[in-house]
Amino acid sequence: MSDTLNHSNALLDVRDLSISVEDAEILHHVDLSVDAGQCLVLMGPNGAGKTTLGHAIMGDVAYTRDGGTITFDGEDLTDLSADKRALAGIFLSYQAPVEIPGVPLYSFLRTICQKRPELKMSARQFRQRVRELAAELDMDQSYLTRELNVGFSGGEKKKVEMLQLLLLQPKLAILDETDSGLDVDALTIVSKGIETYRRECKGALIIITHNTRILERVEVDRVAVMVDGRIVEHGGPSLITDIDERGFEAYEARSSEEA
């Protein structure tokens, strides 16, 4: 199965990846690849290991790699720290963005842009750009002087994640349950943000979700289903309707047979 889906010219190529958290293996021999500009949806029931895979690709130190490799844009990232992977062009939108007291959103945004030579711009351009994006995401200017994520509602935090996505223009964005806990209005704005990213940055996407709502406005290329730390199915967008109707039961049954 993996032979057909891993190809050497993929943007992201995850091979035989096993990951454990606090000595418990969560992912078992996962293979996954995404081409440049492609949109992959990663679905699966709660606790299947989807978030783990997202964080493992990002290089989060809380997740220990027991085996396997991660190649991105032709470069072996396996041993690189998270900040190096981010600079290489990977962005992970957190399911629960972390609060950083004392750091105004503005200072944070300026700093992360300054780290990327391709995004160097004058202060005036930067201000202009941030204002535009804030307006697009329906965020008030006053957010910029507030401490990063501190006291932000769930929806506000997700918007700030979108703002960073659009500002940084990564080659690959992993959106971890970006839709969870959002009301209808916030969901619309976030979906628009995703569209903008696809249109303007031509970036690849991995959308982690167990809810198909957010997918209504996004053109999906491929779907992968994860159960119990394994990818159990690959397919086209039609899988989404399938799962919508029948849930994950069939895949779960298959997973327990394989295990």
């Binding site: 290089g59 900040d83 950083i100 300054q114 202060a123 005036r124 930067f126 002087t145 940084l168």
Partner: protein, 366 residues
């Protein structure tokens, strides 16, 4: 320094003290001797304001306060007080006193910018807020790395008065701050945001002493800062919920990022309580960032060194965006001298972001 100096003891003492071996109860301070003491002449309301810098320190401050500024704001006419300290050419010692009375329902603003090159700057600020008066006080300490700033601050609030005290300490060899606030009137309210940044060899010593006397008063102190190199910082924050202050709330929080192997951070967060119908709370987080915070920031492309630099820059940016209209040039100038052109450009930018029309400094830096 040619002038003679003396050591003041019992400075910034905490009201509720603890084990002396911790060396946390108070500090001492070396200052130039007073050559020609003046008799500070203040109106009664200003003399009645409680100050807690310590007897020795306060008389040193008073004896040097030759031309006290006294302002009175009324509901019809605001009387903002703005003081720049330490920037008189050739003067190595600049001590001042500023007092403001805000009459009923008046608005009062005080801004104290200690940014000059003088070796020692000092200021006493006395504030009396009558019924329903509202005041904002901003204090900025952005001094050269061999300078000292001594600040004494006291405020008395009548019914429904409110005071917002914002303080940024960016740099100085030694900064001492003694802040007293008496919430005497019912429903009076004190909030204070304190941000500090201390680099190698710098010492910051701060005491808050808030007494909640009236019914339904509120006090909130939020402090956060970054300590680099071998910086030393002491924060004593006392909230006293005095018997009779029914329905009052007091809270203190502090977040300290310890970012140097030689850092020493001392915190003494005290809540005194002799009333049952109150809520008092305190929270502190001291040390490194949590693994979750580090993980999140590194996922955005920041290395550990970047993260520490960001935390420091954040304090400068916050000062620039808040004080951009009065002291952007001072903040940017200090940042350029202390942390280089990239940092100062960003500070200028942060100021410009919030104060769009005052972009001269920002353009220059860019």
């Amino acid at each position: 320094m040619s002038a003679q100096t003396k050591v003041l003891t019992g400075v910034d003492a905490a009201r509720a003290q603890t084990w002396n071996w911790l060396a946390i109860n108070e500090t001492s301070l070396e200052v130039p001797c007073v050559e020609a003491p003046v008799a500070l002449d203040l109106p009664r309301w200003a003399r009645d304001v409680r100050l807690i810098a310590g007897a020795e320190a306060q008389s040193w401050l008073d004896e040097l306060s030759a031309e006290p500024i006294v302002g009175v704001s009324t509901a019809e006419e605001a009387h903002p007080v703005l003081a720049f300290l330490g920037d008189v050419e050739g003067e190595d010692l600049d001590v001042s006193a500023a007092s403001l009375l805000a009459e009923e329902n008046a608005k009062g603003d005080v801004t104290i910018i200690a940014s000059g090159a003088a070796r020692t700057t000092a200021n006493t600020c006395r504030l009396s807020l009558k019924e329903g008066a509202k005041a904002t006080v901003d204090i900025l300490v952005a001094r050269p790395e061999d300078a000292t700033h001594v600040q004494s601050f006291g405020a008395t609030l009548a019914e429904d008065a409110s005071l917002a005290l914002r303080i940024w300490i960016l740099g100085a060899a030694k900064t001492t701050l003694a802040i007293a606030c008496d919430l005497e009137g019912a429903r009076s309210r004190f909030t204070s945001e304190l941000r500090y940044l201390a680099g190698s060899e710098e010492t910051i010593d701060i005491t808050y002493d808030v007494r909640q006397l009236g019914r339904g008063t509120e006090a909130e102190i939020n402090a956060s800062g970054v300590l680099e190199g071998s910086a030393e910082k002491t924060l004593r924050a006392s909230i006293d919920l005095v018997r009779g202050c029914k329905g009052s709330k007091g809270s203190e929080t502090e977040t300290v990022l310890v970012a140097g192997d030689g850092v020493r951070n001392k915190t003494l967060p005290v809540i005194l309580c002799s009333e049952d119908d109150v809520q008092g709370d305190h929270g502190a987080t001291i040390g490194s960032l949590s693994p979750e915070q580090m993980g999140f920031l590194s996922s955005r492309g920041l290395s550990e060194a970047d993260i520490v630099a960001l935390a420091g820059q954040a304090i400068i940016d916050d000062a620039a965006s808040a004080l951009g209209d009065v002291a952007l040039a001072e903040i940017v100038g200090w940042t350029r001298a202390a942390r280089g052109p990239e940092a100062s450009a960003q500070a200028a930018d942060a100021g410009a972001l919030m104060h769009g029309t005052l972009c001269d400094v920002a353009e220059e830096e860019a």
